[in-house]
């Protein structure tokens, strides 16, 4: 078994609420019912 902190296929995606860059907040679980492609950016440079 891997570390429990590592998110891998088959595990529940950790939920979060973060400020949107365009205003307001977005909660991951508010997308339930539709698949989500979550892309971690490596900065904007």
């Amino acid at each position: 078994m891997g570390k429990s902190s590592t998110v891998t296929t088959g595990s529940l995606a950790p939920d979060f609420t973060l400020p949107s860059a365009t205003g307001g907040e977005i909660t991951l679980s508010s997308y339930r019912g539709r698949p989500v492609v979550l892309a971690f950016l490596r900065g904007f440079a």
Binding site: T9, Y31, L38, L41
Partner: protein, 103 residues
């Protein structure tokens, strides 16, 4: 990702980008480079840590991460690369999304 956004929406998927920049930095970037999908800001790296996509160091230490999450919140596909060129092919991501699921 930007160019293939329509392909993702065509399979009824949402795209959410997450940045470790500050809110003002993200805002000023998006003003000149608008994204067709929402972008959230994880300034204190809580979520980057939760997904083990550590981004505390400068760009050399950052890891590109991409996760596909299904309708129930379960991870269908995960890819955390060690190098910038380890980003998965969008075709691969679409294949995951198009694979029938028992939901």
């Amino acid at each position: 990702m930007r160019d293939d956004y329509e392909k993702f929406t065509a399979v009824d998927a949402e795209v959410l980008a997450i940045s470790a920049e500050s809110v003002p930095a993200a805002q000023s970037f998006l003003k000149s480079h608008p994204l067709p999908y929402p972008c959230v800001v994880d300034a204190d790296h809580t979520v980057f840590d939760a997904y083990d996509v550590t981004s505390r160091l400068m760009s050399l230490g950052q890891r590109p991460g991409l996760f596909v999450i299904d309708e129930a919140g379960t991870v269908l596909f995960d890819n955390v690369g060690n190098q910038q060129f380890n980003i998965p092919d969008n075709a691969k991501v679409l294949e995951v999304l198009e694979t029938p699921r028992s939901a």
